[in-house]
């Protein structure tokens, strides 16, 4: 559930922030919009940091790769679309808004950069061709009785 809710939450908040930034230069925002913007950017930053934590937790635990790509690919697509607009608004932001806007921008950039690294690695590995001749040869050797049980392998893996 967390993996469905968090991206929706973060994507919605960042999308709203971007729409607000596109509505008019942040330097011209009225005082009450600045106040609302601070809350919005703070929430967006928190949601993005929570999403980054969820990503690391998933990687730490390990997970089946294709569903992982299907879940996180759209998150990266959203960040590629929205993060530049947030980053571009930081230099012109009034002092009252700058810290929260920068926090949202940094959180978006941190998640975007990590997702780029992880998804590029996973997609490249998934696209790597498999040597089916070697697979067939390995099957023949196993049929001839050359194999190791999981218990033997586990002992060696965890004994090291």
């Amino acid at each position: 559930m967390e993996t469905m809710v968090l991206p929706a939450m973060a994507g919605g908040l960042v999308g709203t922030a971007v729409r607000a930034l596109e509505a008019g230069p942040v330097s011209d925002w009225p005082a009450n919009a600045v106040e609302q913007g601070r809350g919005l950017f703070r929430c967006a930053a928190d949601a993005l940091l929570a999403l980054r934590d969820a990503l690391e937790a998933e990687l730490d635990q390990g997970t089946v790769a294709r569903p992982f790509v299907a879940r996180w690919g759209p998150v990266l697509d959203g960040l590629e679309r929205d993060a530049p607009a947030v980053a571009a608004a930081v230099p012109a932001a009034p002092r009252a808004l700058a810290d929260d806007l920068r926090a949202a921008s940094d959180a978006a950039e941190s998640l975007r950069s990590r997702l780029r690294e992880v998804l590029a690695t996973v997609r490249a590995a998934l696209a790597k061709p498999i040597d089916m001749e070697a697979v067939r040869a390995a099957e023949e050797r196993m049929k001839a009785g050359h194999f190791v049980t999981h218990e033997q392998l586990e002992k060696e893996l965890l004994g090291k």
């Binding site: 730490d60 997970t63 790597k128 089916m132 049980t149």
Partner: protein
Amino acid sequence: MRYALSYNEAAARYLRELSLTRAGRLRLNAALRTVEILSDAFRLDPVYRVGVGRFQFDYVFSDGGRPRLLTLIVDDTGAAYGVLKVVWADCNP
């Protein structure tokens, strides 16, 4: 159902000799344990089938912050008898 998992000797040697941290080895073992309890729906999903009697299992995990992708080709011709055989293994990068 929990399958009995066995490995081609070369695949086992490859997995044993992977350069991983202690935590990485635990995650690798968790990935292999995941294969033991895969559902029929996963195993028989055409997305994961590679030729007759085999499926491909890809598992992502991090080791020291570095993303790694484990790929296994598993012979499931003995699945009805509770047996799966890992015939090929690769871990990238």
